[in-house]
Amino acid sequence: MADTPAVPDSSKQLIDTLRRSRLFRDYERVFSEATGLALAIRPLEFWQLAHHGKKHENPFCALLAENPATLSVCLRAHQDMIDHTGVLPHTVTCPFGLTETAVPIKLGEQIVGYLRIGQVLRHIPAKMNTTKVSRELQRCGVRVYG
Protein backbone atom coordinates (compact mmCIF):
# COMPACT_ATOMS: atom_id res chain seq x y z
CA MET A 1 0.00 0.00 0.00
CA ALA A 2 3.02 2.32 0.23
CA ASP A 3 2.99 5.26 -2.19
CA THR A 4 6.11 7.04 -3.45
CA PRO A 5 9.45 5.36 -2.79
CA ALA A 6 11.29 6.32 0.37
CA VAL A 7 14.45 8.40 0.38
CA PRO A 8 17.34 6.31 -1.02
CA ASP A 9 19.37 4.56 1.64
CA SER A 10 22.55 5.87 0.00
CA SER A 11 21.67 9.44 1.09
CA LYS A 12 21.01 8.27 4.60
CA GLN A 13 24.25 6.29 4.71
CA LEU A 14 26.17 9.31 3.46
CA ILE A 15 24.65 11.51 6.16
CA ASP A 16 25.35 8.85 8.81
CA THR A 17 28.99 8.73 7.69
CA LEU A 18 29.24 12.52 7.79
CA ARG A 19 27.61 12.60 11.21
CA ARG A 20 30.15 10.15 12.60
CA SER A 21 33.15 11.84 10.95
CA ARG A 22 35.81 13.44 13.12
CA LEU A 23 35.48 16.70 11.20
CA PHE A 24 31.78 17.05 11.94
CA ARG A 25 32.08 15.95 15.57
CA ASP A 26 34.80 18.57 16.18
CA TYR A 27 32.74 21.23 14.45
CA GLU A 28 29.64 20.27 16.43
CA ARG A 29 31.52 20.38 19.73
CA VAL A 30 33.11 23.78 19.06
CA PHE A 31 29.84 25.24 17.77
CA SER A 32 27.86 24.02 20.78
CA GLU A 33 30.47 25.20 23.28
CA ALA A 34 30.64 28.62 21.65
CA THR A 35 26.91 29.19 21.25
CA GLY A 36 25.28 26.90 23.82
CA LEU A 37 23.10 25.54 21.02
CA ALA A 38 22.71 22.02 19.75
CA LEU A 39 23.76 21.27 16.18
CA ALA A 40 22.80 18.18 14.23
CA ILE A 41 23.18 16.72 10.78
CA ARG A 42 20.09 14.85 9.62
CA PRO A 43 18.91 12.93 6.54
CA LEU A 44 16.05 14.13 4.32
CA GLU A 45 13.48 12.14 6.22
CA PHE A 46 13.94 12.32 9.94
CA TRP A 47 10.93 12.04 12.19
CA GLN A 48 12.36 12.70 15.61
CA LEU A 49 13.39 15.97 17.24
CA ALA A 50 16.73 16.81 15.60
CA HIS A 51 18.45 17.49 18.91
CA HIS A 52 16.74 14.97 21.16
CA GLY A 53 19.14 13.47 23.69
CA LYS A 54 21.92 15.96 22.98
CA LYS A 55 23.76 17.78 25.74
CA HIS A 56 22.53 21.20 24.64
CA GLU A 57 18.95 20.13 23.98
CA ASN A 58 16.37 22.65 25.15
CA PRO A 59 14.74 21.01 28.22
CA PHE A 60 11.32 22.30 27.22
CA CYS A 61 11.68 20.59 23.82
CA ALA A 62 12.86 17.42 25.59
CA LEU A 63 9.62 17.44 27.58
CA LEU A 64 7.56 17.96 24.43
CA ALA A 65 9.28 14.97 22.84
CA GLU A 66 7.99 12.70 25.61
CA ASN A 67 4.39 13.03 24.45
CA PRO A 68 3.50 11.89 20.90
CA ALA A 69 0.78 14.55 20.60
CA THR A 70 3.11 17.47 21.41
CA LEU A 71 5.97 15.88 19.50
CA SER A 72 3.71 15.73 16.46
CA VAL A 73 3.20 19.53 16.64
CA CYS A 74 7.00 20.05 16.67
CA LEU A 75 7.60 17.56 13.87
CA ARG A 76 4.87 19.09 11.73
CA ALA A 77 6.52 22.55 12.06
CA HIS A 78 9.91 21.03 11.22
CA GLN A 79 8.44 19.22 8.21
CA ASP A 80 7.04 22.55 6.96
CA MET A 81 10.54 24.00 7.35
CA ILE A 82 12.09 21.16 5.35
CA ASP A 83 9.39 21.44 2.67
CA HIS A 84 10.25 25.13 2.28
CA THR A 85 14.02 24.74 2.37
CA GLY A 86 15.35 24.97 -1.17
CA VAL A 87 18.99 25.75 -1.82
CA LEU A 88 18.98 28.38 0.95
CA PRO A 89 18.64 27.89 4.71
CA HIS A 90 15.13 28.25 6.10
CA THR A 91 13.94 29.14 9.60
CA VAL A 92 10.56 28.48 11.21
CA THR A 93 9.02 29.29 14.56
CA CYS A 94 7.11 26.35 15.99
CA PRO A 95 3.67 26.77 17.66
CA PHE A 96 5.47 26.71 21.03
CA GLY A 97 7.49 29.78 20.00
CA LEU A 98 10.92 28.23 19.42
CA THR A 99 12.84 28.72 16.20
CA GLU A 100 14.53 26.02 14.16
CA THR A 101 16.78 26.41 11.12
CA ALA A 102 17.68 23.94 8.40
CA VAL A 103 20.72 24.41 6.15
CA PRO A 104 20.67 22.17 3.08
CA ILE A 105 23.62 19.86 2.43
CA LYS A 106 24.13 19.25 -1.28
CA LEU A 107 25.92 16.56 -3.20
CA GLY A 108 26.18 18.05 -6.66
CA GLU A 109 22.70 19.33 -7.43
CA GLN A 110 20.98 16.98 -5.03
CA ILE A 111 20.09 17.80 -1.42
CA VAL A 112 21.08 14.82 0.71
CA GLY A 113 20.44 16.14 4.22
CA TYR A 114 20.31 19.15 6.49
CA LEU A 115 22.34 20.83 9.16
CA ARG A 116 19.88 21.60 11.91
CA ILE A 117 20.23 24.33 14.51
CA GLY A 118 17.47 25.43 16.78
CA GLN A 119 15.27 25.07 19.83
CA VAL A 120 15.91 28.76 20.40
CA LEU A 121 13.53 31.16 22.12
CA ARG A 122 14.59 34.43 20.53
CA HIS A 123 12.96 36.80 22.98
CA ILE A 124 11.62 36.87 26.53
CA PRO A 125 8.07 35.53 26.30
CA ALA A 126 5.24 37.97 26.97
CA LYS A 127 2.03 36.94 28.74
CA MET A 128 0.36 36.65 25.36
CA ASN A 129 3.00 34.14 24.21
CA THR A 130 2.68 31.95 27.29
CA THR A 131 -1.10 31.95 26.94
CA LYS A 132 -0.76 30.82 23.33
CA VAL A 133 1.63 28.05 24.32
CA SER A 134 -0.68 26.94 27.14
CA ARG A 135 -3.56 26.78 24.68
CA GLU A 136 -1.49 24.71 22.26
CA LEU A 137 -0.47 22.33 25.06
CA GLN A 138 -4.07 21.95 26.20
CA ARG A 139 -5.11 21.24 22.62
CA CYS A 140 -2.63 18.34 22.73
CA GLY A 141 -4.23 17.02 25.91
CA VAL A 142 -1.54 18.29 28.30
CA ARG A 143 -2.71 19.67 31.61
CA VAL A 144 -1.17 23.09 32.28
CA TYR A 145 -0.88 24.44 35.81
CA GLY A 146 -0.41 28.08 36.80
Binding site: M1, A2, T4, W47, P68, A69, Q79
Partner: protein
Amino acid sequence: MKAEIEIEPAIEPMRTRVALHPFLAGMNRSQVALLTDCAMAVHFEKGQIIFREGEMANRFYLIETGKVVLESSERLGNPVIIDTIGRGNLLGWSWMFPPYTWRLTARAVEPTSAIFFYGTILREYCERDCSLRYELFKRMAPVMIKRMQAARLKMLGIQSGVEVLKPSPVVDLSEYD
Protein backbone atom coordinates in the same frame (compact mmCIF):
# COMPACT_ATOMS: atom_id res chain seq x y z
CA MET B 1 -12.32 -4.33 2.64
CA LYS B 2 -15.85 -2.96 2.50
CA ALA B 3 -17.23 -1.08 -0.46
CA GLU B 4 -18.27 1.76 1.85
CA ILE B 5 -14.65 2.90 2.26
CA GLU B 6 -13.75 5.59 -0.19
CA ILE B 7 -10.07 5.86 -1.01
CA GLU B 8 -8.76 9.39 -0.84
CA PRO B 9 -5.97 10.75 -3.04
CA ALA B 10 -2.81 11.29 -0.99
CA ILE B 11 -1.94 14.92 -0.25
CA GLU B 12 1.54 14.25 1.04
CA PRO B 13 3.51 10.99 1.10
CA MET B 14 1.81 8.42 3.29
CA ARG B 15 4.98 7.80 5.31
CA THR B 16 5.04 11.51 6.24
CA ARG B 17 1.38 11.40 7.26
CA VAL B 18 2.05 8.30 9.33
CA ALA B 19 5.23 9.66 10.92
CA LEU B 20 3.68 13.00 11.86
CA HIS B 21 0.31 11.78 13.10
CA PRO B 22 -0.14 12.72 16.79
CA PHE B 23 -0.75 9.10 17.72
CA LEU B 24 2.41 7.79 16.08
CA ALA B 25 4.88 10.68 16.39
CA GLY B 26 8.25 9.51 17.65
CA MET B 27 8.31 6.17 15.83
CA ASN B 28 11.68 5.41 14.26
CA ARG B 29 12.38 5.05 10.55
CA SER B 30 11.88 1.27 10.33
CA GLN B 31 8.70 1.38 12.41
CA VAL B 32 7.30 4.12 10.17
CA ALA B 33 8.19 1.98 7.12
CA LEU B 34 6.31 -1.04 8.52
CA LEU B 35 3.28 1.04 9.44
CA THR B 36 3.25 2.76 6.05
CA ASP B 37 3.32 -0.61 4.36
CA CYS B 38 -0.17 -1.36 5.65
CA ALA B 39 -1.60 2.17 5.57
CA MET B 40 -4.04 3.80 3.20
CA ALA B 41 -5.92 7.12 3.15
CA VAL B 42 -9.70 6.87 3.51
CA HIS B 43 -12.65 9.23 3.76
CA PHE B 44 -16.06 8.79 5.38
CA GLU B 45 -19.16 10.86 4.81
CA LYS B 46 -21.32 12.16 7.64
CA GLY B 47 -23.46 9.34 9.01
CA GLN B 48 -21.37 6.55 7.51
CA ILE B 49 -20.82 3.48 9.67
CA ILE B 50 -17.10 2.78 9.90
CA PHE B 51 -17.44 -0.51 11.73
CA ARG B 52 -20.17 -2.35 13.59
CA GLU B 53 -20.16 -4.03 16.99
CA GLY B 54 -19.68 -7.79 16.69
CA GLU B 55 -18.06 -7.68 13.25
CA MET B 56 -14.53 -8.86 12.64
CA ALA B 57 -11.90 -6.33 13.76
CA ASN B 58 -9.11 -6.44 11.23
CA ARG B 59 -8.17 -2.76 10.98
CA PHE B 60 -7.84 0.52 12.79
CA TYR B 61 -7.91 4.18 11.85
CA LEU B 62 -6.07 7.33 12.80
CA ILE B 63 -8.33 10.33 12.42
CA GLU B 64 -6.85 13.28 10.53
CA THR B 65 -9.94 15.49 10.23
CA GLY B 66 -13.58 15.15 11.24
CA LYS B 67 -15.36 13.44 14.10
CA VAL B 68 -16.52 9.91 14.88
CA VAL B 69 -18.76 8.62 17.66
CA LEU B 70 -18.49 5.22 19.32
CA GLU B 71 -21.86 3.73 20.17
CA SER B 72 -22.91 0.76 22.21
CA SER B 73 -25.26 -1.92 20.93
CA GLU B 74 -28.81 -1.13 19.94
CA ARG B 75 -29.95 -4.39 21.56
CA LEU B 76 -30.70 -2.56 24.81
CA GLY B 77 -32.72 0.13 23.10
CA ASN B 78 -31.36 3.30 21.53
CA PRO B 79 -27.64 3.29 20.93
CA VAL B 80 -25.64 5.06 23.64
CA ILE B 81 -22.75 7.27 22.60
CA ILE B 82 -19.75 6.15 24.62
CA ASP B 83 -17.10 8.47 23.25
CA THR B 84 -16.42 11.00 20.54
CA ILE B 85 -13.17 10.76 18.63
CA GLY B 86 -11.63 13.63 16.72
CA ARG B 87 -8.53 14.75 14.89
CA GLY B 88 -5.31 13.12 16.00
CA ASN B 89 -6.98 10.19 17.75
CA LEU B 90 -7.00 6.43 17.39
CA LEU B 91 -10.16 4.63 16.31
CA GLY B 92 -10.21 0.90 17.04
CA TRP B 93 -8.03 -1.33 19.15
CA SER B 94 -10.00 -4.61 19.06
CA TRP B 95 -7.89 -5.75 16.08
CA MET B 96 -5.03 -6.33 18.47
CA PHE B 97 -6.65 -8.80 20.86
CA PRO B 98 -8.61 -12.05 20.43
CA PRO B 99 -11.39 -12.64 19.53
CA TYR B 100 -10.73 -9.74 17.11
CA THR B 101 -14.30 -8.43 17.05
CA TRP B 102 -15.45 -4.84 17.46
CA ARG B 103 -16.83 -4.01 20.92
CA LEU B 104 -18.60 -0.87 19.74
CA THR B 105 -19.99 0.65 16.57
CA ALA B 106 -18.20 3.64 15.02
CA ARG B 107 -20.08 6.22 13.01
CA ALA B 108 -18.78 9.41 11.36
CA VAL B 109 -20.73 12.45 12.53
CA GLU B 110 -18.77 14.80 10.27
CA PRO B 111 -17.00 14.23 6.97
CA THR B 112 -13.91 12.41 8.22
CA SER B 113 -10.48 11.76 6.75
CA ALA B 114 -8.37 9.05 8.30
CA ILE B 115 -5.46 6.73 7.76
CA PHE B 116 -6.60 3.12 7.54
CA PHE B 117 -4.20 0.43 8.81
CA TYR B 118 -4.61 -3.19 7.85
CA GLY B 119 -4.47 -4.84 11.26
CA THR B 120 -3.93 -8.42 10.14
CA ILE B 121 -0.65 -7.53 8.44
CA LEU B 122 0.34 -5.22 11.27
CA ARG B 123 -0.23 -8.01 13.82
CA GLU B 124 2.30 -10.11 11.90
CA TYR B 125 4.76 -7.21 11.86
CA CYS B 126 4.24 -6.82 15.61
CA GLU B 127 5.05 -10.50 16.13
CA ARG B 128 8.32 -10.04 14.27
CA ASP B 129 9.27 -6.62 15.65
CA CYS B 130 8.96 -6.30 19.43
CA SER B 131 9.85 -2.60 19.40
CA LEU B 132 6.95 -1.86 17.07
CA ARG B 133 4.60 -3.88 19.27
CA TYR B 134 5.84 -2.05 22.36
CA GLU B 135 5.44 1.38 20.77
CA LEU B 136 1.90 0.55 19.61
CA PHE B 137 0.92 -0.87 23.01
CA LYS B 138 2.37 2.15 24.77
CA ARG B 139 0.21 4.44 22.69
CA MET B 140 -2.90 2.27 22.74
CA ALA B 141 -3.01 1.59 26.48
CA PRO B 142 -4.06 5.14 27.51
CA VAL B 143 -6.72 5.14 24.76
CA MET B 144 -8.08 1.81 25.98
CA ILE B 145 -8.22 3.07 29.57
CA LYS B 146 -9.96 6.27 28.47
CA ARG B 147 -12.56 4.36 26.43
CA MET B 148 -13.23 1.90 29.25
CA GLN B 149 -13.62 4.76 31.72
CA ALA B 150 -16.01 6.51 29.33
CA ALA B 151 -18.06 3.31 29.03
CA ARG B 152 -18.04 2.81 32.82
CA LEU B 153 -19.25 6.37 33.44
CA LYS B 154 -22.03 5.91 30.89
CA MET B 155 -23.13 2.69 32.57
CA LEU B 156 -23.07 4.28 36.02
CA GLY B 157 -25.11 7.18 34.66
CA ILE B 158 -27.64 4.82 33.13
CA GLN B 159 -27.89 2.74 36.31
CA SER B 160 -28.39 5.75 38.54
CA GLY B 161 -30.90 7.24 36.14
CA VAL B 162 -28.90 10.45 35.82
CA GLU B 163 -28.08 9.79 32.22
CA VAL B 164 -30.96 10.48 29.90
CA LEU B 165 -30.75 8.09 27.00
CA LYS B 166 -30.98 10.28 24.00
CA PRO B 167 -31.28 8.66 20.61
CA SER B 168 -28.37 9.39 18.32
CA PRO B 169 -28.91 12.14 15.75
CA VAL B 170 -31.03 10.77 12.96
CA VAL B 171 -28.97 10.24 9.84
CA ASP B 172 -30.23 8.69 6.66
CA LEU B 173 -27.90 5.76 6.19
CA SER B 174 -29.74 4.25 3.25
CA GLU B 175 -27.35 5.81 0.76
CA TYR B 176 -24.47 3.96 2.38
CA ASP B 177 -26.02 0.51 2.35
